[in-house]
Subunit: 302 residues, 2 copies
DNA sequence: ATGACGCATTTGTCTAGGACAAACATCTGG
DNA sequence: CCAGATGTTTGTCCTAGACAAATGCGTCAT
Protein backbone atom coordinates (compact mmCIF):
# COMPACT_ATOMS: atom_id res chain seq x y z
CA UNK A 1 0.00 0.00 0.00
CA UNK A 2 2.83 2.29 0.90
CA UNK A 3 3.90 3.41 -2.56
CA UNK A 4 7.47 4.64 -2.88
CA UNK A 5 8.46 8.18 -1.99
CA UNK A 6 11.27 10.27 -3.46
CA UNK A 7 13.50 12.91 -1.95
CA UNK A 8 14.05 16.18 -3.73
CA UNK A 9 17.27 15.07 -5.39
CA UNK A 10 15.57 12.02 -6.83
CA UNK A 11 12.75 14.13 -8.19
CA UNK A 12 15.22 16.49 -9.81
CA UNK A 13 16.88 13.54 -11.48
CA UNK A 14 13.66 11.96 -12.65
CA UNK A 15 11.83 15.06 -13.84
CA UNK A 16 14.63 17.37 -14.89
CA UNK A 17 13.14 20.15 -12.76
CA UNK A 18 15.74 21.80 -10.55
CA UNK A 19 15.44 21.78 -6.78
CA UNK A 20 15.06 25.54 -6.85
CA UNK A 21 12.12 25.26 -9.22
CA UNK A 22 10.46 22.50 -7.22
CA UNK A 23 10.64 24.58 -4.04
CA UNK A 24 9.55 27.72 -5.86
CA UNK A 25 6.48 26.10 -7.36
CA UNK A 26 5.47 24.74 -4.00
CA UNK A 27 5.77 28.18 -2.50
CA UNK A 28 4.14 30.05 -5.35
CA UNK A 29 1.52 27.75 -6.82
CA UNK A 30 0.85 25.32 -4.02
CA UNK A 31 2.01 22.34 -6.05
CA UNK A 32 3.66 19.96 -5.51
CA UNK A 33 2.79 19.31 -1.86
CA UNK A 34 5.42 16.85 -0.67
CA UNK A 35 5.18 15.22 2.71
CA UNK A 36 8.02 15.59 5.17
CA UNK A 37 10.23 12.85 6.50
CA UNK A 38 11.67 12.57 9.99
CA UNK A 39 14.23 15.29 9.29
CA UNK A 40 11.73 17.76 7.93
CA UNK A 41 12.86 17.10 4.37
CA UNK A 42 10.53 16.90 1.40
CA UNK A 43 9.30 13.47 0.45
CA UNK A 44 7.40 13.28 -2.84
CA UNK A 45 4.77 10.58 -3.40
CA UNK A 46 5.10 8.77 -6.71
CA UNK A 47 1.82 10.20 -7.97
CA UNK A 48 3.09 13.76 -7.64
CA UNK A 49 6.32 12.87 -9.39
CA UNK A 50 4.26 11.43 -12.19
CA UNK A 51 2.25 14.61 -12.46
CA UNK A 52 5.40 16.70 -12.46
CA UNK A 53 6.72 14.67 -15.35
CA UNK A 54 3.53 15.30 -17.26
CA UNK A 55 3.74 19.01 -16.52
CA UNK A 56 7.33 19.10 -17.68
CA UNK A 57 6.35 17.42 -20.92
CA UNK A 58 3.56 19.89 -21.54
CA UNK A 59 5.94 22.75 -20.78
CA UNK A 60 8.37 21.45 -23.36
CA UNK A 61 5.48 21.60 -25.78
CA UNK A 62 5.10 25.30 -25.12
CA UNK A 63 2.53 25.50 -22.34
CA UNK A 64 3.08 27.96 -19.52
CA UNK A 65 3.85 26.60 -16.08
CA UNK A 66 1.44 28.97 -14.35
CA UNK A 67 -1.54 27.59 -16.22
CA UNK A 68 -0.54 23.96 -15.85
CA UNK A 69 0.07 24.18 -12.13
CA UNK A 70 -3.27 25.83 -11.48
CA UNK A 71 -5.04 23.12 -13.43
CA UNK A 72 -6.92 20.25 -11.81
CA UNK A 73 -5.61 16.78 -12.54
CA UNK A 74 -8.29 15.69 -14.94
CA UNK A 75 -8.10 18.80 -17.06
CA UNK A 76 -4.37 18.32 -17.27
CA UNK A 77 -4.75 14.77 -18.44
CA UNK A 78 -7.20 15.92 -21.09
CA UNK A 79 -4.62 18.36 -22.38
CA UNK A 80 -2.03 15.70 -22.96
CA UNK A 81 -2.56 14.42 -26.46
CA UNK A 82 -2.72 10.69 -26.17
CA UNK A 83 -2.16 9.40 -29.60
CA UNK A 84 -3.66 11.78 -32.01
CA UNK A 85 -5.54 9.49 -34.37
CA UNK A 86 -2.99 6.94 -35.57
CA UNK A 87 -2.63 9.08 -38.68
CA UNK A 88 -3.14 6.04 -40.88
CA UNK A 89 -0.53 7.35 -43.26
CA UNK A 90 -1.20 6.21 -46.79
CA UNK A 91 2.15 4.44 -46.98
CA UNK A 92 2.25 6.68 -49.98
CA UNK A 93 5.72 6.82 -51.39
CA UNK A 94 8.56 4.58 -50.64
CA UNK A 95 9.59 5.74 -47.19
CA UNK A 96 7.02 5.58 -44.47
CA UNK A 97 8.47 6.19 -41.04
CA UNK A 98 5.39 4.79 -39.34
CA UNK A 99 6.25 1.31 -40.38
CA UNK A 100 9.59 1.11 -38.62
CA UNK A 101 8.36 3.14 -35.67
CA UNK A 102 5.74 0.50 -35.09
CA UNK A 103 8.54 -1.98 -34.59
CA UNK A 104 9.95 0.15 -31.79
CA UNK A 105 6.49 0.41 -30.28
CA UNK A 106 6.35 -3.36 -30.26
CA UNK A 107 9.75 -3.41 -28.59
CA UNK A 108 11.15 -5.41 -31.44
CA UNK A 109 14.72 -4.17 -31.50
CA UNK A 110 16.00 -6.79 -33.88
CA UNK A 111 13.20 -6.21 -36.32
CA UNK A 112 13.90 -2.50 -36.27
CA UNK A 113 17.56 -3.00 -36.99
CA UNK A 114 16.81 -5.37 -39.84
CA UNK A 115 14.30 -3.01 -41.40
CA UNK A 116 16.67 -0.08 -41.13
CA UNK A 117 19.58 -2.00 -42.58
CA UNK A 118 17.44 -2.88 -45.54
CA UNK A 119 16.61 0.75 -46.09
CA UNK A 120 20.23 1.73 -45.78
CA UNK A 121 21.20 -0.81 -48.40
CA UNK A 122 18.42 0.30 -50.69
CA UNK A 123 18.82 4.05 -50.35
CA UNK A 124 22.52 4.55 -49.81
CA UNK A 125 23.88 6.45 -46.83
CA UNK A 126 23.12 10.00 -47.86
CA UNK A 127 19.49 9.42 -48.65
CA UNK A 128 19.20 7.13 -45.64
CA UNK A 129 20.31 9.93 -43.35
CA UNK A 130 18.32 12.69 -44.96
CA UNK A 131 15.15 10.85 -45.91
CA UNK A 132 14.88 8.18 -43.26
CA UNK A 133 16.83 8.92 -40.09
CA UNK A 134 16.12 12.64 -39.95
CA UNK A 135 12.33 12.38 -40.40
CA UNK A 136 12.27 9.44 -38.04
CA UNK A 137 14.05 11.40 -35.34
CA UNK A 138 11.57 14.19 -35.87
CA UNK A 139 8.66 11.81 -35.55
CA UNK A 140 10.06 10.27 -32.39
CA UNK A 141 10.43 13.74 -30.92
CA UNK A 142 6.81 14.49 -31.71
CA UNK A 143 5.66 11.16 -30.38
CA UNK A 144 7.59 11.80 -27.19
CA UNK A 145 5.96 15.17 -26.83
CA UNK A 146 2.43 13.92 -27.27
CA UNK A 147 3.05 11.08 -24.91
CA UNK A 148 2.58 8.23 -27.33
CA UNK A 149 6.20 7.20 -26.78
CA UNK A 150 7.53 6.12 -23.42
CA UNK A 151 10.92 7.34 -22.32
CA UNK A 152 12.41 3.89 -22.61
CA UNK A 153 11.05 3.49 -26.09
CA UNK A 154 12.73 6.69 -27.11
CA UNK A 155 15.95 5.45 -25.52
CA UNK A 156 15.76 2.19 -27.41
CA UNK A 157 15.20 4.03 -30.67
CA UNK A 158 18.13 6.35 -29.99
CA UNK A 159 20.47 3.57 -28.99
CA UNK A 160 19.71 1.39 -31.98
CA UNK A 161 19.84 4.27 -34.43
CA UNK A 162 23.17 5.39 -33.02
CA UNK A 163 24.51 1.95 -33.73
CA UNK A 164 23.27 1.96 -37.28
CA UNK A 165 24.85 5.30 -38.05
CA UNK A 166 28.13 4.49 -36.38
CA UNK A 167 28.31 1.24 -38.24
CA UNK A 168 27.70 2.98 -41.51
CA UNK A 169 30.30 5.63 -40.74
CA UNK A 170 32.87 3.04 -39.78
CA UNK A 171 32.43 1.40 -43.14
CA UNK A 172 33.46 4.57 -44.94
CA UNK A 173 37.07 5.13 -45.93
CA UNK A 174 38.80 7.43 -43.47
CA UNK A 175 38.45 10.74 -45.21
CA UNK A 176 41.73 12.53 -45.66
CA UNK A 177 40.59 15.00 -48.25
CA UNK A 178 38.59 17.85 -46.87
CA UNK A 179 38.71 19.98 -43.75
CA UNK A 180 39.29 18.54 -40.32
CA UNK A 181 36.00 18.89 -38.51
CA UNK A 182 35.72 18.50 -34.78
CA UNK A 183 32.25 17.34 -33.80
CA UNK A 184 30.91 17.66 -30.29
CA UNK A 185 28.37 19.31 -28.02
CA UNK A 186 28.48 21.49 -24.93
CA UNK A 187 27.86 20.31 -21.35
CA UNK A 188 24.18 19.54 -20.62
CA UNK A 189 23.63 18.70 -24.27
CA UNK A 190 23.69 14.94 -24.50
CA UNK A 191 21.77 14.35 -27.71
CA UNK A 192 24.08 12.72 -30.17
CA UNK A 193 21.94 11.68 -33.11
CA UNK A 194 22.26 15.04 -34.82
CA UNK A 195 26.02 14.88 -34.56
CA UNK A 196 26.08 11.42 -36.04
CA UNK A 197 23.89 12.47 -38.93
CA UNK A 198 26.19 15.30 -39.96
CA UNK A 199 29.22 13.13 -39.36
CA UNK A 200 27.81 10.60 -41.78
CA UNK A 201 27.19 13.25 -44.41
CA UNK A 202 30.54 14.98 -43.93
CA UNK A 203 32.46 11.72 -43.96
CA UNK A 204 30.66 10.74 -47.12
CA UNK A 205 31.95 13.95 -48.67
CA UNK A 206 35.47 13.00 -47.70
CA UNK A 207 35.93 15.37 -44.80
CA UNK A 208 37.98 14.23 -41.84
CA UNK A 209 35.70 14.08 -38.83
CA UNK A 210 36.93 13.97 -35.27
CA UNK A 211 34.06 12.75 -33.10
CA UNK A 212 34.50 13.69 -29.46
CA UNK A 213 31.09 12.60 -28.24
CA UNK A 214 28.91 14.96 -26.26
CA UNK A 215 29.23 17.22 -23.23
CA UNK A 216 32.64 18.82 -23.69
CA UNK A 217 33.50 21.72 -21.37
CA UNK A 218 34.10 24.82 -23.44
CA UNK A 219 37.73 25.15 -22.46
CA UNK A 220 38.35 21.58 -23.53
CA UNK A 221 36.78 22.18 -26.91
CA UNK A 222 39.28 24.97 -27.38
CA UNK A 223 42.18 22.73 -26.41
CA UNK A 224 40.97 19.90 -28.57
CA UNK A 225 40.66 22.18 -31.59
CA UNK A 226 44.29 23.17 -31.18
CA UNK A 227 45.56 19.67 -30.53
CA UNK A 228 43.76 18.24 -33.54
CA UNK A 229 44.51 21.25 -35.72
CA UNK A 230 40.83 21.42 -36.55
CA UNK A 231 39.63 23.68 -39.35
CA UNK A 232 36.08 23.68 -38.11
CA UNK A 233 34.39 23.11 -34.76
CA UNK A 234 30.83 21.92 -35.24
CA UNK A 235 28.37 21.90 -32.33
CA UNK A 236 24.94 20.38 -32.13
CA UNK A 237 22.05 21.75 -30.07
CA UNK A 238 18.84 19.77 -29.73
CA UNK A 239 15.44 21.38 -29.50
CA UNK A 240 15.38 20.49 -25.83
CA UNK A 241 18.43 22.64 -25.05
CA UNK A 242 17.61 25.90 -23.24
CA UNK A 243 17.79 28.32 -26.12
CA UNK A 244 18.59 31.40 -24.12
CA UNK A 245 21.95 29.93 -23.16
CA UNK A 246 23.06 29.31 -26.71
CA UNK A 247 24.22 32.78 -27.78
CA UNK A 248 26.32 33.18 -24.65
CA UNK A 249 27.90 29.79 -25.07
CA UNK A 250 28.75 30.40 -28.70
CA UNK A 251 30.24 33.77 -27.92
CA UNK A 252 32.36 32.37 -25.13
CA UNK A 253 33.58 29.53 -27.29
CA UNK A 254 34.34 31.88 -30.16
CA UNK A 255 36.75 33.68 -27.84
CA UNK A 256 38.49 30.44 -26.93
CA UNK A 257 39.10 29.42 -30.54
CA UNK A 258 41.75 30.70 -32.89
CA UNK A 259 40.23 33.17 -35.36
CA UNK A 260 41.08 30.91 -38.29
CA UNK A 261 38.97 28.11 -36.88
CA UNK A 262 35.37 28.26 -38.03
CA UNK A 263 32.57 27.70 -35.55
CA UNK A 264 29.47 25.96 -36.83
CA UNK A 265 26.33 25.37 -34.83
CA UNK A 266 23.41 23.26 -35.94
CA UNK A 267 20.47 21.19 -34.78
CA UNK A 268 16.91 21.96 -33.86
CA UNK A 269 18.01 24.18 -31.00
CA UNK A 270 19.49 26.93 -33.17
CA UNK A 271 16.32 27.49 -35.12
CA UNK A 272 15.41 30.68 -33.30
CA UNK A 273 18.88 31.84 -32.38
CA UNK A 274 19.92 35.21 -33.78
CA UNK A 275 22.92 35.16 -36.07
CA UNK A 276 26.14 36.46 -34.59
CA UNK A 277 29.64 37.40 -35.59
CA UNK A 278 31.99 34.56 -36.34
CA UNK A 279 29.44 31.78 -36.00
CA UNK A 280 27.76 29.85 -38.80
CA UNK A 281 24.26 28.71 -37.95
CA UNK A 282 23.14 25.65 -39.87
CA UNK A 283 19.44 25.03 -39.77
CA UNK A 284 19.20 21.95 -41.94
CA UNK A 285 21.38 19.11 -43.10
CA UNK A 286 21.36 20.61 -46.58
CA UNK A 287 22.75 23.84 -45.22
CA UNK A 288 25.49 21.88 -43.51
CA UNK A 289 26.50 20.28 -46.77
CA UNK A 290 26.40 23.65 -48.49
CA UNK A 291 28.65 25.10 -45.80
CA UNK A 292 31.15 22.34 -46.44
CA UNK A 293 31.15 23.12 -50.15
CA UNK A 294 31.63 26.81 -49.38
CA UNK A 295 34.54 26.10 -47.08
CA UNK A 296 36.24 24.08 -49.78
CA UNK A 297 35.84 26.84 -52.32
CA UNK A 298 37.29 29.34 -49.88
CA UNK A 299 40.21 27.04 -49.04
CA UNK A 300 41.49 25.54 -52.27
CA UNK A 301 43.90 22.70 -51.69
CA UNK A 302 47.42 23.99 -52.02
CA UNK B 1 43.81 42.04 -20.35
CA UNK B 2 40.35 41.41 -18.96
CA UNK B 3 40.38 37.60 -18.90
CA UNK B 4 36.98 35.96 -19.07
CA UNK B 5 34.81 35.55 -16.02
CA UNK B 6 32.22 32.85 -15.35
CA UNK B 7 28.95 32.92 -13.46
CA UNK B 8 28.19 30.25 -10.90
CA UNK B 9 26.18 28.12 -13.31
CA UNK B 10 29.05 28.05 -15.79
CA UNK B 11 31.47 27.03 -13.05
CA UNK B 12 29.14 24.23 -12.00
CA UNK B 13 29.07 23.01 -15.61
CA UNK B 14 32.80 23.19 -16.11
CA UNK B 15 33.97 21.80 -12.77
CA UNK B 16 31.17 19.48 -11.76
CA UNK B 17 30.99 21.15 -8.35
CA UNK B 18 27.43 22.03 -7.36
CA UNK B 19 26.42 25.61 -6.69
CA UNK B 20 25.75 24.67 -3.10
CA UNK B 21 29.26 23.36 -2.70
CA UNK B 22 30.82 26.39 -4.35
CA UNK B 23 29.02 28.74 -1.98
CA UNK B 24 29.75 26.55 1.02
CA UNK B 25 33.46 26.41 0.32
CA UNK B 26 33.58 30.14 -0.02
CA UNK B 27 31.83 30.56 3.30
CA UNK B 28 33.81 27.90 5.14
CA UNK B 29 37.28 27.85 3.68
CA UNK B 30 37.61 31.26 2.10
CA UNK B 31 38.08 29.84 -1.37
CA UNK B 32 37.07 30.50 -4.07
CA UNK B 33 36.78 34.27 -3.77
CA UNK B 34 34.68 35.31 -6.75
CA UNK B 35 34.16 38.94 -7.61
CA UNK B 36 30.64 40.31 -7.82
CA UNK B 37 28.98 41.70 -10.92
CA UNK B 38 26.55 44.59 -11.10
CA UNK B 39 23.75 42.49 -9.65
CA UNK B 40 25.74 41.25 -6.70
CA UNK B 41 26.16 37.84 -8.30
CA UNK B 42 29.34 35.78 -8.14
CA UNK B 43 31.74 36.16 -11.05
CA UNK B 44 34.64 33.71 -11.09
CA UNK B 45 37.93 34.61 -12.79
CA UNK B 46 39.28 31.94 -15.13
CA UNK B 47 42.25 31.28 -12.86
CA UNK B 48 40.03 30.31 -9.96
CA UNK B 49 37.99 28.04 -12.18
CA UNK B 50 41.19 26.37 -13.28
CA UNK B 51 42.21 25.85 -9.67
CA UNK B 52 38.80 24.46 -8.82
CA UNK B 53 39.17 21.93 -11.63
CA UNK B 54 42.51 20.85 -10.22
CA UNK B 55 41.04 20.53 -6.75
CA UNK B 56 38.19 18.44 -8.09
CA UNK B 57 40.63 16.13 -9.79
CA UNK B 58 42.67 15.70 -6.63
CA UNK B 59 39.48 15.03 -4.68
CA UNK B 60 38.52 12.30 -7.10
CA UNK B 61 41.90 10.78 -6.33
CA UNK B 62 40.99 10.58 -2.67
CA UNK B 63 42.31 13.84 -1.20
CA UNK B 64 40.18 15.67 1.30
CA UNK B 65 38.67 18.99 0.33
CA UNK B 66 39.57 20.66 3.62
CA UNK B 67 43.28 20.09 3.09
CA UNK B 68 43.27 21.08 -0.55
CA UNK B 69 41.38 24.29 0.01
CA UNK B 70 43.70 25.39 2.79
CA UNK B 71 46.72 24.78 0.59
CA UNK B 72 48.65 27.52 -1.17
CA UNK B 73 48.67 27.35 -4.95
CA UNK B 74 52.22 26.12 -5.42
CA UNK B 75 51.91 23.32 -2.92
CA UNK B 76 48.75 22.24 -4.68
CA UNK B 77 50.48 22.09 -8.01
CA UNK B 78 53.25 20.01 -6.49
CA UNK B 79 50.69 17.53 -5.25
CA UNK B 80 49.27 16.88 -8.66
CA UNK B 81 51.11 13.85 -9.93
CA UNK B 82 52.51 14.74 -13.28
CA UNK B 83 52.99 11.36 -14.74
CA UNK B 84 53.88 9.01 -11.98
CA UNK B 85 56.54 6.77 -13.44
CA UNK B 86 54.71 5.09 -16.33
CA UNK B 87 54.30 2.03 -14.12
CA UNK B 88 56.55 0.17 -16.53
CA UNK B 89 54.18 -2.73 -16.54
CA UNK B 90 55.96 -5.98 -17.17
CA UNK B 91 54.19 -6.25 -20.50
CA UNK B 92 53.50 -9.60 -18.99
CA UNK B 93 51.25 -11.22 -21.50
CA UNK B 94 50.89 -10.25 -25.08
CA UNK B 95 48.78 -7.12 -24.77
CA UNK B 96 50.43 -3.88 -23.79
CA UNK B 97 47.91 -1.07 -23.54
CA UNK B 98 50.57 1.61 -23.63
CA UNK B 99 51.09 1.14 -27.32
CA UNK B 100 47.57 1.99 -28.41
CA UNK B 101 47.19 4.66 -25.75
CA UNK B 102 50.10 6.47 -27.31
CA UNK B 103 48.08 6.75 -30.49
CA UNK B 104 45.33 8.54 -28.63
CA UNK B 105 47.91 10.82 -27.06
CA UNK B 106 49.05 11.70 -30.56
CA UNK B 107 45.45 12.38 -31.50
CA UNK B 108 45.63 9.75 -34.19
CA UNK B 109 42.08 8.49 -34.21
CA UNK B 110 42.38 6.47 -37.36
CA UNK B 111 45.55 4.81 -36.20
CA UNK B 112 43.89 3.87 -32.95
CA UNK B 113 40.94 2.32 -34.70
CA UNK B 114 43.18 0.35 -37.02
CA UNK B 115 45.31 -0.94 -34.17
CA UNK B 116 42.28 -1.95 -32.17
CA UNK B 117 40.63 -3.68 -35.10
CA UNK B 118 43.76 -5.71 -35.58
CA UNK B 119 43.69 -6.76 -31.97
CA UNK B 120 40.05 -7.67 -32.21
CA UNK B 121 40.72 -9.83 -35.21
CA UNK B 122 43.67 -11.48 -33.54
CA UNK B 123 42.16 -12.06 -30.12
CA UNK B 124 38.52 -12.66 -30.78
CA UNK B 125 35.82 -10.65 -29.10
CA UNK B 126 35.88 -12.18 -25.64
CA UNK B 127 39.58 -11.82 -25.11
CA UNK B 128 39.49 -8.42 -26.79
CA UNK B 129 36.98 -7.17 -24.25
CA UNK B 130 38.55 -8.75 -21.21
CA UNK B 131 42.23 -8.38 -22.00
CA UNK B 132 42.34 -5.24 -24.09
CA UNK B 133 39.36 -2.97 -23.65
CA UNK B 134 38.93 -3.46 -19.91
CA UNK B 135 42.58 -2.78 -18.97
CA UNK B 136 42.69 0.08 -21.42
CA UNK B 137 39.67 1.70 -19.83
CA UNK B 138 41.32 1.29 -16.45
CA UNK B 139 44.53 2.88 -17.68
CA UNK B 140 42.67 5.79 -19.22
CA UNK B 141 40.88 6.35 -15.94
CA UNK B 142 44.20 6.43 -14.12
CA UNK B 143 45.76 8.69 -16.71
CA UNK B 144 42.84 11.05 -16.40
CA UNK B 145 43.23 11.12 -12.65
CA UNK B 146 46.90 11.92 -12.70
CA UNK B 147 46.41 14.58 -15.30
CA UNK B 148 48.40 12.98 -18.08
CA UNK B 149 45.23 12.76 -20.17
CA UNK B 150 43.24 15.78 -21.20
CA UNK B 151 39.49 15.62 -21.01
CA UNK B 152 39.14 15.71 -24.77
CA UNK B 153 41.61 12.88 -25.15
CA UNK B 154 39.53 10.79 -22.82
CA UNK B 155 36.44 11.69 -24.84
CA UNK B 156 38.10 10.67 -28.07
CA UNK B 157 39.14 7.37 -26.56
CA UNK B 158 35.65 6.72 -25.25
CA UNK B 159 33.95 7.64 -28.50
CA UNK B 160 36.19 5.51 -30.67
CA UNK B 161 36.08 2.55 -28.31
CA UNK B 162 32.31 2.75 -28.16
CA UNK B 163 32.26 2.46 -31.92
CA UNK B 164 34.50 -0.53 -31.94
CA UNK B 165 32.42 -2.40 -29.40
CA UNK B 166 29.12 -1.52 -31.02
CA UNK B 167 30.42 -2.62 -34.36
CA UNK B 168 31.57 -5.90 -32.93
CA UNK B 169 28.25 -6.45 -31.19
CA UNK B 170 26.30 -5.67 -34.33
CA UNK B 171 28.22 -8.36 -36.16
CA UNK B 172 27.01 -11.01 -33.74
CA UNK B 173 23.91 -13.03 -34.47
CA UNK B 174 20.92 -11.71 -32.53
CA UNK B 175 20.89 -13.99 -29.54
CA UNK B 176 17.59 -15.69 -29.01
CA UNK B 177 18.79 -18.34 -26.64
CA UNK B 178 19.44 -17.11 -23.17
CA UNK B 179 17.73 -14.71 -20.82
CA UNK B 180 16.47 -11.33 -21.93
CA UNK B 181 18.81 -8.85 -20.32
CA UNK B 182 17.96 -5.18 -20.13
CA UNK B 183 21.12 -3.08 -19.99
CA UNK B 184 21.12 0.51 -18.81
CA UNK B 185 22.28 2.96 -16.16
CA UNK B 186 20.60 5.36 -13.76
CA UNK B 187 20.34 9.13 -14.23
CA UNK B 188 23.65 10.96 -13.65
CA UNK B 189 25.54 7.87 -14.71
CA UNK B 190 26.56 8.46 -18.29
CA UNK B 191 29.49 6.09 -18.64
CA UNK B 192 28.61 3.55 -21.22
CA UNK B 193 31.77 1.58 -21.88
CA UNK B 194 31.13 -0.83 -19.04
CA UNK B 195 27.67 -1.56 -20.39
CA UNK B 196 29.01 -2.20 -23.83
CA UNK B 197 31.65 -4.56 -22.51
CA UNK B 198 29.13 -6.75 -20.72
CA UNK B 199 26.78 -6.53 -23.65
CA UNK B 200 29.51 -7.88 -25.87
CA UNK B 201 30.20 -10.75 -23.50
CA UNK B 202 26.54 -11.58 -22.91
CA UNK B 203 25.69 -11.42 -26.58
CA UNK B 204 28.61 -13.68 -27.32
CA UNK B 205 27.07 -16.18 -24.92
CA UNK B 206 23.84 -16.01 -26.82
CA UNK B 207 21.84 -13.94 -24.38
CA UNK B 208 19.33 -11.47 -25.76
CA UNK B 209 20.48 -8.00 -24.79
CA UNK B 210 18.25 -4.96 -24.84
CA UNK B 211 20.50 -1.90 -24.78
CA UNK B 212 18.67 1.20 -23.59
CA UNK B 213 21.66 3.50 -23.36
CA UNK B 214 22.38 5.43 -20.20
CA UNK B 215 20.50 7.66 -17.81
CA UNK B 216 17.14 5.97 -17.46
CA UNK B 217 14.83 7.29 -14.74
CA UNK B 218 14.12 4.50 -12.29
CA UNK B 219 10.43 4.35 -13.04
CA UNK B 220 11.18 4.00 -16.72
CA UNK B 221 13.51 1.11 -16.05
CA UNK B 222 10.64 -0.60 -14.30
CA UNK B 223 8.30 0.01 -17.21
CA UNK B 224 10.85 -1.07 -19.76
CA UNK B 225 11.47 -4.31 -17.87
CA UNK B 226 7.79 -5.11 -18.06
CA UNK B 227 7.38 -4.07 -21.68
CA UNK B 228 10.35 -6.10 -22.82
CA UNK B 229 9.55 -9.01 -20.51
CA UNK B 230 13.12 -8.85 -19.27
CA UNK B 231 14.48 -11.65 -17.11
CA UNK B 232 17.31 -9.53 -15.81
CA UNK B 233 17.94 -5.82 -15.38
CA UNK B 234 21.65 -5.04 -15.41
CA UNK B 235 22.95 -1.66 -14.29
CA UNK B 236 26.43 -0.22 -14.57
CA UNK B 237 28.01 2.17 -12.09
CA UNK B 238 31.35 3.79 -12.85
CA UNK B 239 33.93 4.55 -10.20
CA UNK B 240 33.03 8.22 -10.53
CA UNK B 241 29.44 7.65 -9.42
CA UNK B 242 28.73 8.83 -5.86
CA UNK B 243 28.83 5.54 -4.03
CA UNK B 244 26.64 6.53 -1.16
CA UNK B 245 23.69 6.86 -3.49
CA UNK B 246 23.98 3.37 -4.90
CA UNK B 247 22.34 1.29 -2.15
CA UNK B 248 19.32 3.57 -2.07
CA UNK B 249 18.93 3.51 -5.81
CA UNK B 250 19.17 -0.25 -5.97
CA UNK B 251 16.66 -0.67 -3.20
CA UNK B 252 14.21 1.71 -4.83
CA UNK B 253 14.56 -0.01 -8.16
CA UNK B 254 14.16 -3.41 -6.56
CA UNK B 255 10.75 -2.30 -5.35
CA UNK B 256 9.76 -1.18 -8.84
CA UNK B 257 10.61 -4.50 -10.45
CA UNK B 258 8.60 -7.69 -10.40
CA UNK B 259 10.12 -10.14 -7.90
CA UNK B 260 10.88 -12.61 -10.67
CA UNK B 261 13.10 -10.12 -12.44
CA UNK B 262 16.71 -10.28 -11.28
CA UNK B 263 18.60 -7.08 -10.61
CA UNK B 264 22.30 -7.08 -11.40
CA UNK B 265 24.68 -4.22 -10.68
CA UNK B 266 28.25 -4.01 -11.85
CA UNK B 267 31.10 -1.70 -12.70
CA UNK B 268 33.83 -0.06 -10.69
CA UNK B 269 31.31 1.84 -8.61
CA UNK B 270 29.93 -1.19 -6.78
CA UNK B 271 33.28 -2.32 -5.47
CA UNK B 272 32.66 -1.06 -1.96
CA UNK B 273 28.93 -1.36 -1.87
CA UNK B 274 27.50 -3.68 0.76
CA UNK B 275 25.53 -6.61 -0.55
CA UNK B 276 21.79 -6.40 -0.18
CA UNK B 277 18.67 -8.45 -0.55
CA UNK B 278 17.55 -9.16 -4.07
CA UNK B 279 20.50 -7.56 -5.82
CA UNK B 280 23.44 -9.31 -7.44
CA UNK B 281 26.65 -7.32 -7.27
CA UNK B 282 29.10 -8.16 -10.02
CA UNK B 283 32.60 -6.92 -9.37
CA UNK B 284 34.32 -8.22 -12.46
CA UNK B 285 33.47 -9.26 -15.98
CA UNK B 286 34.21 -12.84 -15.00
CA UNK B 287 31.65 -12.66 -12.24
CA UNK B 288 29.14 -11.34 -14.74
CA UNK B 289 29.70 -14.33 -16.99
CA UNK B 290 29.44 -16.65 -14.02
CA UNK B 291 26.16 -15.02 -13.06
CA UNK B 292 24.82 -15.70 -16.52
CA UNK B 293 25.79 -19.36 -16.25
CA UNK B 294 24.14 -19.57 -12.85
CA UNK B 295 20.95 -18.05 -14.18
CA UNK B 296 20.81 -20.58 -16.95
CA UNK B 297 21.25 -23.45 -14.54
CA UNK B 298 18.49 -22.09 -12.36
CA UNK B 299 16.19 -21.58 -15.34
CA UNK B 300 16.46 -24.62 -17.58
CA UNK B 301 14.80 -24.12 -20.93
CA UNK B 302 11.42 -25.68 -20.89
C1' DA C 1 51.21 -5.60 15.73
C1' DT C 2 46.67 -5.71 14.03
C1' DG C 3 41.84 -5.39 13.87
C1' DA C 4 37.37 -3.60 15.92
C1' DC C 5 34.87 -0.16 18.09
C1' DG C 6 33.40 4.54 19.34
C1' DC C 7 34.02 9.39 19.30
C1' DA C 8 35.12 13.81 16.96
C1' DT C 9 35.50 16.29 12.85
C1' DT C 10 34.61 17.12 8.23
C1' DT C 11 31.61 17.88 4.50
C1' DG C 12 27.63 17.91 1.50
C1' DT C 13 22.86 18.66 1.11
C1' DC C 14 18.70 20.35 2.72
C1' DT C 15 15.71 24.30 4.44
C1' DA C 16 13.63 29.15 4.46
C1' DG C 17 12.24 33.23 2.21
C1' DG C 18 13.73 37.43 -0.32
C1' DA C 19 15.20 39.80 -4.59
C1' DC C 20 15.68 40.65 -9.30
C1' DA C 21 16.24 40.37 -14.37
C1' DA C 22 15.10 38.10 -18.48
C1' DA C 23 11.36 36.17 -21.08
C1' DC C 24 6.82 36.53 -22.34
C1' DA C 25 2.16 38.52 -23.13
C1' DT C 26 -0.65 42.37 -23.78
C1' DC C 27 -1.85 46.90 -24.81
C1' DT C 28 -1.04 51.29 -27.42
C1' DG C 29 0.17 54.26 -31.22
C1' DG C 30 1.82 54.88 -35.96
C1' DC D 1 -0.52 45.26 -39.62
C1' DC D 2 3.79 46.11 -37.44
C1' DA D 3 6.65 48.53 -33.65
C1' DG D 4 7.41 49.84 -29.17
C1' DA D 5 6.06 50.48 -24.27
C1' DT D 6 4.17 48.35 -20.10
C1' DG D 7 2.93 44.72 -17.01
C1' DT D 8 3.24 39.68 -15.53
C1' DT D 9 5.33 35.47 -15.24
C1' DT D 10 9.09 32.66 -14.04
C1' DG D 11 13.69 30.91 -13.20
C1' DT D 12 17.93 31.67 -10.89
C1' DC D 13 20.64 33.67 -7.52
C1' DC D 14 21.26 35.29 -2.79
C1' DT D 15 22.13 34.61 2.67
C1' DA D 16 22.50 31.87 6.57
C1' DG D 17 21.37 28.06 9.49
C1' DA D 18 20.88 23.06 10.59
C1' DC D 19 21.89 18.35 10.46
C1' DA D 20 23.27 13.61 9.09
C1' DA D 21 26.34 10.77 6.67
C1' DA D 22 31.05 9.95 5.69
C1' DT D 23 35.66 10.06 7.18
C1' DG D 24 39.65 10.08 10.27
C1' DC D 25 41.61 9.05 14.57
C1' DG D 26 42.45 7.29 19.04
C1' DT D 27 41.71 3.49 22.21
C1' DC D 28 41.27 -0.99 23.53
C1' DA D 29 41.58 -5.91 23.06
C1' DT D 30 43.51 -9.78 21.01
Amino acid sequence: MNSPHFNIAAVERDTGLSKDVLRMWERRYGFPTPERDGNGERSYPAAQVERLRLIKRLMDMGHRPGKLLAMPADELAALAPRRPAPTARPTSGSEDPGEVLALIKQHDGHGYQQAMLQRLARQGLQSFVQDTVAPLTQRVGEAWEDGSFEVFEEHLFTELTKRLLRQAIAALPGGAGGPRILLTSVPDESHVLGLLMVEALFSLEGAECIPLGTQMPLMEIGRAATAHRADIVALSFSVAFPQRQIPGLLQQLRLLLAPTVELWAGGGGVRRVARQEGVHLLHTLDEALAALTDWRQAHPTN
